[in-house]
Symmetry: D2
Subunit: 367 residues, 4 copies
């Protein structure tokens, strides 16, 4: 398989570029019998664009999903589901001017080399965060599938720049405040500080990164494969596919490296006749398999590379050192937009493994 597909049974193939006409996705392997309509995608697509204009790019598109195939009489048929969204706001004028000036921190330079200059460089082209729209549409289907089995996947902003919430949230709390704050932090006091931080960074022609935590609640035990297709390996791969991700950890993650085994091991115990663990250092994954405890992933998002501040670069045409101040409509922080993308990547991976394991059948019974 060429590189634009992921998943072995629930297979997601995306297409489209930032400034092309469409962004879309084909979901192959979705079981038959899942209720699905174009409306299902709207909430997730809307959620991608925080309502607060002060913290987002001026490129605000109302994205509407079009279902091209795979749904009949309101249910999935088992055939591939193709979805697409039109790119309406594609003002490419700013890009021509800087065509030869690769933006630091961006794919511009290696992409030009890789594709011999044939790549669509406008707005990052295929490498743009815009393509997460496709991921989010596929993720919507995955989430609907998981919710049938009471599995919920929630992500939220845990830190933004140096502002950080230390609270642990229950599924109910995250769900309740899912869209309450434009920064997607369910700790609303903290969320406000995050918003200020973004506004300040933008004023200074700069940008911010942050950390997103994603939790999958109510996972069955034993999902995943040893070694290569371990659940954590596949989750990490899917999450790293999202532009701007620079780190992924499960449970205690990098902190585990400083702990002793006696501290880091989660003891098993019985609770209401079910095997659970007393602590959650493992992040719900043991030996690549789900342990039955919530899966907890933390994801580091780098600050947006496109900034107004002047930066040093190289003119690839004249091969001379040059300076660059990125104009165009850029987000001062992509963390809020990345929240639903990470949920999507996680839900897609879990759906894939649940189908592989036989936990989710190929035909869903009426519900």
């Amino acid at each position: 398989m060429a590189g634009n597909s992921i998943g072995k049974e629930f297979t997601v193939t995306t297409f489209g570029e930032s400034h092309g006409k469409f962004v879309g996705v084909v979901v192959d392997g979705c079981p038959a019998g899942l209720p699905l309509s174009a409306k299902d995608f709207q909430e997730e697509l809307d959620r991608r664009i925080p309502a607060e204009p002060k913290i987002v790019s001026a490129r605000v598109e109302k994205d509407t999903a079009k279902v091209l195939s795979g749904v009949f009489n309101g249910f999935t048929t088992g055939a591939p589901i193709a979805l697409m969204v039109e790119n309406k706001e594609t003002d490419s004028s700013d890009y021509e001017a800087i065509k030869d000036l690769p933006r630091p921190g961006h794919s511009d330079y290696p992409a030009r080399i890789k594709y011999g200059g044939f790549n669509d460089y406008r707005g990052g082209g295929r490498f743009s965060g815009r393509v997460t729209v496709a991921l989010i549409m596929a993720g919507t289907i995955a989430k609907k599938l998981l919710s049938r089995y009471d599995i919920d996947v929630f992500a939220y902003t845990q830190s933004l720049g140096k502002v950080k919430t230390d609270k642990q949230f229950s599924a109910t709390e995250i769900r309740k405040n899912k869209n309450a704050a434009a920064t997607r932090c369910p700790d609303l006091v903290c969320a406000e500080k995050m918003e200020e931080a973004i506004i300040n960074a933008r004023k200074e022609g700069d940008s911010l990164g942050g950390v997103i935590e994603c939790i999958a609640f109510n996972m069955p035990v034993g999902i995943g494969e040893p070694l290569f297709d371990s659940l954590d390996a596949d989750l990490a791969k899917a999450v790293f596919a999202i532009p701007a991700v620079k780190g992924v950890e499960f449970g205690a993650g990098f902190r585990a490296a400083e702990l002793r085994g006696s501290e880091n091991n989660d003891a098993f115990l019985l609770k209401n006749g079910k095997v659970v663990t007393s602590t959650e250092y493992s992040g719900g994954v043991l030996g690549g398999l789900s342990s039955g405890m919530p899966i907890m992933i933390r994801v580091a998002i780098k600050p947006t590379p496109s900034i107004a501040k002047e930066q040093k670069t190289v003119n690839l045409s004249s091969m001379e050192n040059a300076a660059l101040s990125v104009k165009g409509r850029h987000d001062p922080c992509v963390v809020p937009k990345a929240v639903p993308a990470i949920e999507a990547a996680v839900a897609i991976t879990i759906a894939d493994h649940l189908i592989r394991s036989g936990f989710i059948p190929k035909v869903l019974k009426e519900h």
Copy 2:
């Protein structure tokens, strides 16, 4: 593909269990014309077992690779290369006693559920670190392939428990001290402290984790694919396949989340007519493609879950709470053993992408 294979063009399929008779690997897609013999594997296999008995498990096996296919007249033929190593030291007596007592932090519990009890539970079976022997053999081939193009992959122990080196090492320094310290830290002063830390943890019936940094030097520009098969996504997947890995980050990684764009962006500049970056926050990957700068990955390894200290668990047969003290021959710290495994995972992934991109051809010219 079922889950025991990785790589699209340079495809690695592993087999074997901790207490089975053999551990092995089939490498498919290796270009024809690479000089290869059984001896090539010895150095890497030896390196897996630090020479210092105080810091390793009592299970010390001299592993010797047997080449089953794919090599003719001293060169790879283009046909699949099958390799295997015999498991000689397989005293399984300790495991029968604790068959129903899943070790905290281990795959025992989810594996039993996943396989309905049919899994080989002895020594962790298929989930054991022992299977990295297969990865290391495949990695040896990948490294030989890369070295033909002067690409070197080196890993070393950066921290062990709370002992940490802050030095940055050149390729030459890492190579020089590759095997100098049993803890695989090229900062030999620090290495000694690490050794002490392991010895102390062992005395207390406890274990330690650590952080390994892996660097790929001399990478060409533009290797990888956008999104799903991005170089970082595939590297992360391969590295997470190694047991005990709990976190992966590139370049500044989680630190990037706290930086501003103006700090985290690596400015481009010309050096000897070549485009390079002034800093290395990106870890050599931009938009999923190699930037031409060294690829830098940091990997968090958790403390070995098998410890002598008593822990709480559940008897899965009687379904009662229970206590467990893990006997058997366990490493008090798997970080040193993980060093060559991580190098292998990284080399395999890079080799795969170099073949996919056409950078490495299917037939190597005489050299």
Copy 3:
């Protein structure tokens, strides 16, 4: 990968149903730098529908390809190329009436069982010959790619029912008469008899099958892999994906089973300094690799199962024996329509193998 994709480097994923709104395809892995525009697809799409209304279904749609992604400034970019065609002529009224009456020779019955009744049964849904439109669009790209290397793929109708041409055609002859006859037989005398045969079968409420030969001219030597991904295995798989195909053979094919080795072996000889064979019994494939001689595939197409004549079937709702006369707009013979589909399947497979082998690079040089 779920089942709607084919190809390892040049990967084709199709979507759409007979009576859905769209039929489409995503081509991933096409090298960057191939000139491509929507117009390129028109000739092939037109060719799918013979101009002679007497021999085709009343469902005559002017199909127009829409390029959704992957092309920039007139060249492929290396990103996935998504294409779609609208289904305009979808009168589904005839299907409701026979929803519970599976058509003999059709997928209706097993599809209903497989998908638990959720499948789109209208016009065969995902199983319809209509979906070859997607294959043909992907094939157009593959052919353009191959033609850059002077490799041509041509198919033609060799027999239709009991009418058969015994001529061997050169590339020039097939190309010249490619669209001359509605039945796609370059022997124009024979073509006329074939047309009559179809008209007669239709009058009697019946249908015809036939044999299509497909030849790939100017193949390089050594393309393919031993065993599983042998060129013939992959070609056969791609061709069998086309509805109505019941047999595939290479060169002498089933006739080879009756020959002796001394008759069937193609002797090697030098011709203008090049190794060629004196005969072409092998069909251009030796041990799964291309021999450098033209690849010759013969494909058996069954008679269209949808016929007006009354047939016996079972009412799947009442579970009683029943009778059925298929109404709706059906082709009395799908052989002419299958000709470009087979060319597409063959071109896609060859393009995939040429990219895998490195013969076609990932970035095309200006031409």
Copy 4:
């Protein structure tokens, strides 16, 4: 995936060459809980070598399977099952002499070009029929799996050169005479004539081909996928992977091309409350899915290319025309040996699809 693997859930990766030390296979994705031991493979391996020395190569090896992994306490564990067989009879002396003289009808010439001369050319190397030993071992596991669900796969010699049996055989008849005749034809009168034909061809320094029919009895309905992963496409691919196969057809196959729809359509009817068809022209596959009727595949095997009779070839070293008489130990007819290989290919493909569909679960219940 590189080219030496097949199957998406039940994945078979083979390795080994004709004159290497071992031939082997890794079966990944076999459900846990299947009883399996080394003995299970013996019957199938023995069956590959007909007991009648007059009709086979002088290379008669008693092949014994060694189980390297994936079996514990007599059951499969869900981990990859690696198997290997030693090559004992590898007299390579005859090959050195003809190293530069490619045998007509063999892979020698394209293999040399493909691998730049690095390939193991001895006895055809990776392209030898010897590698079907690996396929047969994997097929043994697939058959054991299928037999748990009462699905039986039987192949037999239907024609050999010009000797042909016209009988249709029941599962019971084929099973009864499975090994009765060295030529693997259950019509024992015909079998004797086939034996004579082989003996005569050998005397004349020549060779014979033939046709093998393979039937899968008791298939469930709806197995397979539309289009690319249709059951017939995947079966054809697997069967074409076997050396010497030149044609594959299902049911009426090429004969269907001459029939009318009213003749070729299999009418549905109820029989004991089950939907069956009155005839079996479709070969048990409709629209790429199993219809529930027996799957019937006919496979054309070409005459062995290695013959004693002098043939024309080209000296690839001196690039001059040359003559060649193949010495060494060759089968005058590989049809009998191909019978279990085709059964294996068919059983592997069906097992893969039954697992993909969820019909066979990932953990088998005690039986």
